[in-house]
Amino acid sequence: MSFDPKQHPTEEWIAGLRVRYPTERYVDRALTRKLHTRIGPTYHPQTVESVAGRLRHFLEREIQGPFAVSNIGTLTGGASKEQFSFHLRWQDAGGDTRTERLVLRITPGASAAETHRLREFQLMGALQGTLPVPSPRWIDPEGALFGQPCLICSFCEGVTKPSGEAASGMRTSFGPDYRKALAPQFIRHLADLANVDWRKHDLSAFDAPRQETREAVIQQLNWWERVWAEDSVAAEPLLTLVGRWLRDHAPTVDKVSIVHGDYRAGNFLFSPTTLQITAILDWELAFLGDRHADLAYVIDPLFSERNENGELLVCGLCTREVFLDEYARCSGLPVDPERLRYYEILMGWRNCVIALGGGSRCAVGQTSHQDIMFAWLVPGVAPIALGALRELVKDLF
């Protein structure tokens, strides 16, 4: 293999990227950390034994009094972060002994989308009582104690797909009973998210864009153009073409909302018996911006599935029309077709950047705990994502 300068980033190159693509402070921190980590030794996945020792060391600083960690096990399903569940027994502030199952999310050597743990930690805290989200407990945002950035949150019961249903990794197939129960909840939670008064919460890891400006979009374009510059393993002219168009046509934001950024089937848990959504997961890509970004992401064909009659369902749950109409009704917010079209292109472009950029870099660089997952997903997903993007923009030029 020939020398790849992106795999061996210099301080000068990193500094140049930071100037060229100004991003939110904590996005910059995460991306810069990624590049520094890339120079380091080959990353090997955490073992249960190594996690046990580091976890105890970390919790000794966080918990006053005796505690015990047990039943540590790996959790699957995450291509982005290394996840473990464990039981913690400790005494709370009132002196009562408590035992709870918790989740440890660790930033690995590299992932398809590099993000900062503090952002998702703060959001999970802000959304308690509004949406079903895991409860954040402790965080080591820079990895000073644990050795790698990590957070600990509550364990939520539930499944991501019906038992026995096949899943490709991006699409989920729900039967009629599941769809009937889950679709309204899926839509309502997203509608509620857009109406959260985020200014009331500590979201200091986010740089809020101003309403009625293009700042929110420019933040996103800078973020993902920087990722592309850092991670891409080969040029993709379609992304260059669309990136230009997105910058030239960036709309203003009518209302700044919390945007989940990865809202789709597979990123929520539900009870297989009551069919109630028990948790909305994976907040790491969240940002403050235009709600249309989440709407566009949900209706992306990458996550769509056909029903028994061959009808295309967004996230395998309902038709695009039902989704958008119900969202507007539940949120009380308008769905602007022009903005939606713009964000379909933006999020489709971002999907390609993540797959072809971050995903490929992980596989080629051998720097993550899931090289094998990326080597499997990227060739499968990237041409579909590119094809969907091409379809969206083919009449724009």
């Binding site: 699409r171 393993v233 080969a234 040029a235 073409l241 599935e305 090289d371 094998i372 080597a375």
Partner: protein, 174 residues
């Protein structure tokens, strides 16, 4: 293909080494032995994959030359079914055996360089105003569209593609 065979094989070896093999119980000796054999096979394939096609061509050239010499050494080359078939095969094999095929790694590097150059020329075209930019955009959309089909076909059996049934077969794609 951005994720080519060497990348895929390395990821398989890492998964075996880092995750799968350490998780096999020591008493499961057969599983452990076979997992290690899988790792060894993959390691060997990794060293061969760049050169496999070239070596196969060398083998064809080698045996074509031998066949030619064997035919020539026949005392009285009277017609026979075997001889006719041998001559036909030789006629077919010789031009193929003469092909100069680059190693796969070299081919991949050249492709990446051509992609990169295309991207820079596209940017220059977009900087030259609407008319040139639009023309360049159409060229990109056309070529990218055809490459996307090629890549979708390559993985159509993997279950990612909702419309896999509508795609041509891999053997029919050029």
């Amino acid at each position: 293909m951005l994720i080519d065979d060497p990348v895929r094989i390395r990821s398989l070896i890492r998964a075996l080494q880092d995750v799968v093999i350490p998780s096999i119980a020591p008493q499961a000796q057969l599983a452990l032995e076979q997992a290690n054999l899988v790792r060894l096979h993959l390691s060997l394939m990794l060293t061969q994959t760049d050169y496999a096609y070239r070596l196969q061509l060398s083998e064809l050239a080698h045996f074509s030359a031998m066949l030619g010499e064997l035919i020539a050494c026949l005392a009285a080359p009277a017609g026979s079914t075997d001889l006719d078939r041998a001559r036909q095969l030789l006629q077919r094999a010789e031009p193929i055996a003469r092909l100069q095929i680059p190693d796969r790694g070299e081919l991949a590097r050249l492709t990446v360089a051509v992609r990169e150059a295309s991207d820079r020329i596209l940017q220059a075209a977009l900087d030259q105003g609407d008319a040139v930019g639009r023309q360049a955009a159409h060229i990109v959309l056309d070529y990218v569209g055809r490459q996307i089909v090629r890549e979708r076909v390559a993985v159509k059996t993997a279950g990612f593609d909702l419309d896999a049934a509508a795609l041509p077969d891999l053997k029919d794609v050029t």
